[in-house]
């Protein structure tokens, strides 16, 4: 078999996905274990401490709700950016990516306000185990948001250059995952009180 024939065989293999997308899915699968393990650990601990209901009632549900709306809307904008990137509409793709980034920044602003409010009440990660879980899990999630924003900003630059538009999908996968994590963080810390 000649080299060119072998290459063609690989390219037309229907079971293969682009390395970037497949790699991102593999990474996200490992993240499922990280966040899932943390949340499962929190649930087990909370089952043992009925007094945590009182602490959970002190979290700012309104801010958590606003942040959920922001992330869900941001996810919509990312998927729309991907939709238009596939159709080579750079202008629309860039516009939606920019909106997704702005909503992500707004999420962090609200999160910062929430932390500031809690610190002002004397609540810190060292207050008790509930608040340790709260600050660690929401802080790790916020760190993922920051990383996502950097990835999205770099992707926006590529969109504006009209290059590497396939990266919009990969960046979107990461952003949607961060959204999925928040979907579970929100009820655990803000609603189930």
């Amino acid at each position: 078999m000649s080299a060119s024939t072998a290459t063609n065989t690989v390219e037309t293999e229907p079971m293969l996905a682009p390395h970037g997308r497949l790699g991102m899915w593999m990474f996200l699968a490992s993240e499922v274990v990280v966040f899932g393990g943390l949340l499962a650990s929190y649930i087990f601990a909370r089952l043992r401490h009925s007094s945590w209901d009182e602490f959970a009632s002190q979290t700012m549900t309104s801010i958590g709700c606003i942040n959920t709306v922001l992330l869900l809307t941001s996810s919509l904008f990312i998927v729309l950016s991907h939709h238009w990137a596939e159709r080579k509409d750079i202008k629309k793709s860039g516009k939606y990516m920019l909106w997704a980034i702005l909503l992500g920044v707004l999420f962090l602003v609200f999160k910062g306000y929430e932390y500031q409010h809690e610190f002002a009440k004397g609540i810190t990660p060292l207050t008790n185990l509930f608040w340790s879980y709260y600050f660690f899990i929401t802080g790790l999630h916020a760190l993922h948001i920051v990383i996502g924003l950097v990835i999205n900003a770099l992707t926006l630059r590529e969109i504006r250059k009209g290059q590497n538009l396939q990266r919009v999908e990969v960046a979107g996968l990461y952003w949607h995952f961060v959204d999925v994590v928040w979907i579970f963080v929100f009820p655990l810390f803000y609603v189930a009180s």
Binding site: G37, I78, V180
Partner: protein, 99 residues
Amino acid sequence: MSSDQVDMGHLTPKTYTIIWAILLGLLFLSLFAGMVKSPVLATVMIFGVAIIKAVMVMFYYMHLKVEIVYVKVAVLAGFLALFFFVVGVYPDVVGQFSK
């Protein structure tokens, strides 16, 4: 569409927007569930809604529904690892309860 892209079939901006509206509706349903007096019913509703929302995002926004089998296996492996972790530590948790 190039060969390296997922065939998203019928998914259009309108479909994505409808899914977003449903997700927002489910968010308000979970807030309502938080006010239900029965703790068991409230917990089931809150986490049931969260699971539905997560599946919708994964299936429609992440296109997992139409992904190739390798990706589905990778995701399933992640959830299986998590499942075995939870099952593995559960006896210890029950043991702590009984003390």
